[in-house]
Amino acid sequence: MRHSIRIAVGPVQFRIGSDWAAPIAALERLYAGYPQDDARPAEATVRLFAARPWRRWVRPSVHIGGDFVVPDALPLPLSMGLLAAEMGMNLQVALGWRRHMLLHASAVARDGRALIMSGESGSGKSTLAALLGEDEWRLMGDEFTLIDPVGGDAFAFPRAVSLKNEAIAAVAGRVDAARLGPLMAGTPKGDIRHLIPRADAIAAMHEPARPALLLFPRFGGGTAIEPMGEGEVFVRLTEASTNYVALGEAGFAALTRLVRETPAFGISYPDSATGIALVEQLWAETLK
């Protein structure tokens, strides 16, 4: 790879290589505040390479590669190299990480306790985490939450937050423009703009937090709170975990413990302000 960068996000050391300078330059800007230890061996490698050598010059498109390859990964135009890098990083962690149980969930922490939010794309879990992270919460991550299979603590994976579509305006108005990446319009996932987490969240990214509340948000529709039974939470989280099966009994033990020890609710909300209010209400009720 002609251009490369090493970035530590939570416990994962990435090496990202690219045939082009632009995606690496964009990553250098987004991840300037993260540890960049060039001597530490990489645990996940992402390569953005040209499909054919000559394609680097003619109508370039970025292909995602790395330790694991999804055969039908979308070839993305070079202008979306940053998105390709993000997708590659997600892919390597989702498929390769074994040290923790990985939940496809956002998380924020307060007073050493974690609020974990799991949901499909579009549920609002990312936006809620980003907005809470601008308040009195520490942003732990907008995409993945890592659970220590031995102790049960949650660990952060605070990559640059991937704001999509309406969430861009909802968050952009509240933060310093220097913390926003370039607007990438019309990607396969819609409009995307990255938000650099607050410096205190990056500085605290190795600090564990005890899971205290599990929420399954659903954006749209009326305001509702629905307590969720242990069995349903277990099923949903096995579906939300990318490495539950690979972890074997350690994953089973970690998940049963998390489900038993953590109160869980489904919430639906018509707008972000209501969503935040529901989160604060449930947090106060759960921890009193």
Binding site: G229, G231, F234, Y244, F252, T256, R260
Partner: protein, 93 residues
């Protein structure tokens, strides 16, 4: 054809964790997770007392549970045993 006899999984093969209305069972041999509801956990526990057929197992269950008129419970228990065998959680003795 007489009712087949069944055998419980060897000690330590299954990790059984009740989770509210569901019971999660991790099979250490296959590394598979099974999610079951009542009466599956009760049947597994009762079979742990020794190999037996559905009629004997129904009698064992009736000692601890109200089966609501025991005359028609044996075919149901036999069917559940067949399902547990298909999941690999019990075996033909």
């Amino acid at each position: 054809m007489p009712d087949p006899a069944y055998r419980a999984a060897p000690p330590g093969a299954l990790r059984v964790e009740p989770l509210g209305e569901l019971t999660a069972i991790f099979d250490r041999r296959s590394m598979q997770t099974h999610l079951v509801v009542s009466p599956m956990p009760e049947i597994l526990a009762a079979l742990g007392a020794g190999d037996c057929d559905a009629a004997t197992l129904t009698a064992r269950l009736a000692e601890s549970f109200d089966l609501g008129g025991a005359d028609d419970a044996t075919p149901i228990v036999a069917e559940r045993l067949g399902e547990l065998a298909a999941m690999g959680l019990v075996a033909r003795a």
